[in-house]
Symmetry: D2
Subunit: 365 residues, 4 copies
């Protein structure tokens, strides 16, 4: 398919299907001299893994990462870092009942149209399990960013109609609450909503917000590799994403220039913006203020409710998706969005290093 690689210098290539032997990622362009072990990656994998709450799929796998290359004596060598996770809980038999049915909202029909073939076992490559590879890569990117003072933080902003109240923002809750909301009251409300949705054999969508702090100004390459464009492509490549916005986002349509522009002022010798309607991006490049992104996730297409659909052979039928699935994807997608943002930024930080002749001279002379 040749769509499995992302990035230019820091480039990830993912592989694997939901019910194949394993999934993984090759991360090329990891700089040499980064301390790295499985212990740096596993916590990110665990964030993506289903929890123990009512909103999680009963499919439980340890998702144990194994680093196969690129690390020697605990340090990266500059060689590609290959990371693999074995599948251990495949129940392919679960899917035989639907092997000829195009599930509504899934990629069954489009994969079959493209390849004349479809891996019906849990969606194959189009499964959410594919994101596991992105998270492994994201963990490495995050480790690099941490050394550069850049923080990427994603969390659940909204599930169905339930939004967080930012005055109650508590970052520590993101990794401890089942909804990945940084607000325990909203989390409780959202859990109640999800409980009701599940009882109705249905599913829910939501919104993930990402805030990136510590970015130097000027990151992103003009025209087609803008930071905004690269982040959009990165996020929208995640299954189930239907919209992405930066800063004031869709609200800019009704705003006036005088409301939307952010005034510049000086503060302690540094240039600052008095507001941040731009979401940290001007001309598609980082402007030094926080980058804010909202990603909109559709409701899980797998529902127990009976739906009308067709068979591969062109006969009409109905389907009710049994098997293991989450009533909402949002909480597990939080770390995936965060990972894609981290991977994107590391790559653009690297290409930025040769933007000035002075930088080249400083490096080589």
């Amino acid at each position: 398919m040749a769509g499995s690689s992302f990035g230019n210098i820091f480039r990830i290539t993912t592989w694997g299907e939901s019910h194949g032997p394993a999934l993984g990622v090759v991360i090329d362009g990891v700089p040499a001299g980064l301390s790295l072990s499985e212990a740096d990656i596993q916590p990110f994998m665990d964030r993506r893994a289903p929890g123990n709450s009512a909103i999680s799929t009963p499919r439980k796998e340890p998702d144990q990462v194994e680093i196969l290359s690129g690390v020697f004596d605990g340090m990266t060598t500059g060689c590609p870092v290959s990371i693999m996770v074995r599948n251990t809980s495949q129940h392919s038999a679960d899917y035989s009942a639907i092997k000829d049915i195009y599930r509504p909202g899934h990629a069954d029909y489009t994969y079959d149209s493209k390849y004349g073939f479809r891996d019906y076992r849990g969606g194959g490559r189009s499964s959410g399990r594919e994101t596991l590879s992105r998270v492994a890569a994201g963990a490495v990117a995050q480790k690099i960013l941490k050394e550069l003072g850049i923080d990427v933080c994603s969390y659940t902003l909204q599930i169905g109609p339930v939004s967080i109240d930012k005055s109650r923002f508590d970052r520590s809750l993101i990794t401890s609450l089942p909804t990945c909301m940084p607000d325990s009251e909203a989390d409780s409300e959202a859990m109640a909503y999800l409980s009701e949705v599940r009882e109705n054999n249905d599913s829910a969508g939501g919104v993930i917000e990402t805030v990136i702090t510590g970015m130097p100004a000027g990151i992103g390459d003009p025209v087609f590799n803008k930071l905004s464009a690269s982040l959009s492509g990165a996020i929208m490549s995640i299954g189930a994403m239907k919209a992405v916005e930066f800063g004031d986002g869709t609200a800019v349509a009704c705003a006036r220039g005088s409301e939307n522009n952010d005034a510049f002022r000086m503060n302690g010798g540094s240039i600052v913006k008095l507001t941040n309607h731009s979401g940290g991006l001007l001309g598609g490049m980082s402007d030094g203020s926080d980058i804010t992104i909202r990603s909109y996730v559709k409701p899980t297409p797998s529902i127990y409710k009976t739906q009308e659909t067709v068979n591969r052979d062109g006969s009409e039928t109905t389907v009710s998706i049994s098997g293991r699935h989450d009533p909402v994807i949002v909480p597990r997608a939080v770390v995936v969005v965060e990972s894609m943002c981290a991977v994107t930024i590391v790559d653009l930080l690297m290409t930025n290093m040769s933007a000035k002749m002075d930088s080249l001279k400083g490096f080589y002379m």
Copy 2:
């Protein structure tokens, strides 16, 4: 900057600044045997050019395209098509007053941060004039798509608070009304709104909608080169874009799976969807129904109103942007969005040709 190319097999490379000698694009991968002349491209350029109405910049240029390569005897040869437009109406002097000022909402500060340098003449490379190159490429892509029965149509959906009424949709109006709305009543309202905005030395934003019809199913490459991801990156690479959504877009957050999934049925031997919440995309690939996209454009950052800002040397100041600028970018951006969509689709149609072993055998054996 190395961000000036887009696409894989059908690849465009743009160049040029607002006030340099010329702008242009090199389109590589144009298939041989396409009838092509300047007359195919000029109408698209004219759609991007400022109109004669009250909402247009007084900067008037013919934007005359010249094809410099890749066409012989009226047909493309398979060689790169190079297209150039000379700048004829540069008034660099207009900008000397702001040469050290970082204009709010513009890329002045971020370019200077990146390059230690800034082309203050009309924004240089970050100017909306850069999109001229995209439109020239889009015209070629559109000509290819037309021969394949694929139609890409963008129009103004909303300006400030004024939206079109789809029951009055008249496609012919898109290229005749100053707002590029397909609804003359909404156009009048929007013009009134813009008039008020302008009187207040301010500017307006809006929304562009794109509908792509005739797409075969299965276009787009899984994971990172999904059609959805590629289109998002393509659109968000256009200056002033702050959000993009497909199908039901941001509304999916509150929808339930049973509301958001589109049922499949048979119709005259073909598989059809009864609804199109997905916006023509499943698993990131085209599902054969119309692809629907909405792109959110921020208000023109150039306003006559006085704004607080800083100088390059770190001193605080104020600025009121005189010179030539539109009170709203939306109408001129319509053809730019359309162009980027067309370019993206042609490229993914090409990579799709080798998706099946049977296709390779059919071609070579």
Copy 3:
């Protein structure tokens, strides 16, 4: 390092080091519907493995391939094919004696210069074991080419001063004789030469010839992605390669145009060339006749003879390379060259599919 990927649509990404846990390759862009199993790949791996003769390293590993993704029910799915080989015979301890020494002719010094770090265990990523990944990818490419009637055949042309006699050419010998020469007399002579070389604690170089038959005319993309340029880059990316030539190669320097040009004639309704000085390439594209390539391999840099060198700390020393190494690389590199050629050709066959507007219309309309 971001140099671990090769190809555009059919793209391989390799990973792994000589003494790490495993090596492997991700092959993206494999068309769906190709019958594929480990049994298709293993024979190619075995050709690369050391033999049992006197010219082979005593390091013996089964190099057992495992397909981790991209195949379902014995057929490729269009998803990336991930292939892994576990290292089972690492003796890292062998290398501790030379961990601070820059071995002459090896990449120790250049890796250390680049990364501030060096994996001294058998050369790490610069080891010949890296080519294992290329061969796994080559096996898949060869299977595709076979279905398209294209044959890629490499063999040893020369070892040290001993060349084959083409009048004795017997293809079946390539995979059975220790030298991979298609001529048993030359093989015996070469073995005697290698025996003498080995007794002198030294090593030998040689030449690999490749003949590609069945190529349609017009493959390769003009200017930078010429078939000739792509093959050159592919072959010269193999360690130890010092020269590559096509057709008459270096001899063209002394030839005259009238001697070097190949006349065209008709034969049974087809255009043929009366000679093939061009080596099957005109304007860098395949001309329908056999493509002929010669690749020059330097003598194994690891020799038992004592050599002058320096330590990492800048002190002078001497080194005699003990451990496991071949007196000649050529026979094991034969299948590596063949593999890189096959991978290159598959990719260019794919990009060629959209070269004409008629092809696009034939595919989509």
Copy 4:
């Protein structure tokens, strides 16, 4: 064709045909802050232009470069540098006689096979005039390298059987003698040889040598983007190249390891090699010593002698190429090889900047 771009961060995209309106190149990734004007580029163009001697085509054009973008106030801005040369001396009529004939040794047949179409005017895109774009890009790359203390020098090593004597090497002669040999005696001999060749309605080939000095060690990215592999692809992408070799090149086949390895020693605190059989490359990366390359150029395929060939319609015929052509391509190709080497090196110097975590931290912290 999508083969018109070369490089990753420092990326050139060329366009134009022999008899179209113009030719040019877009250079993306030029660092900001490089002093640049047409005067920096023109001398390189003039080196590529035919001279006034007996060995030059009578086609005389000024090849006047025009910089269309990327430079402001005499300095590069970080935006793509677009350079154009208008064709002024096209005599398309010269070619009408051969418009249906496939000229032996030319790309007529392969272009027609690929595109179903052929630009018969002087070879179209396959003409040597295409290299003009490479030289313009090379001039910019050379200017960057000069600021980094890296020198790329190509010259004619051999024409037909006449080689230079290195004991007479005089660099200043390269740009003053008609053969571009750095040895006036060899130049005289070569001119005599060419005179004889021409009288016989024939043409000659030759060899170009390139020496690159001042390279830091560690440049080039392991595996597929090795400096050796990248340079090979770059050089072999030039029309008429049939072989390329590094250091001892083809001679390594007969050498022994003890003869081919270069011993390391210390010299004034620096690591040096006592010999340079490797041609400045170990493991495909620069080893700090001079990089030496030889490129083999076939005799000009255009000859006055009558040759057998076929027509487009499949009828046999003969052809004698009248019109303007050089009896030898070598002298004009010298600056083309030099240019491709310079472009390749700049790109790999840039990607090398993020090879170490320490470099990233040094840049951003």
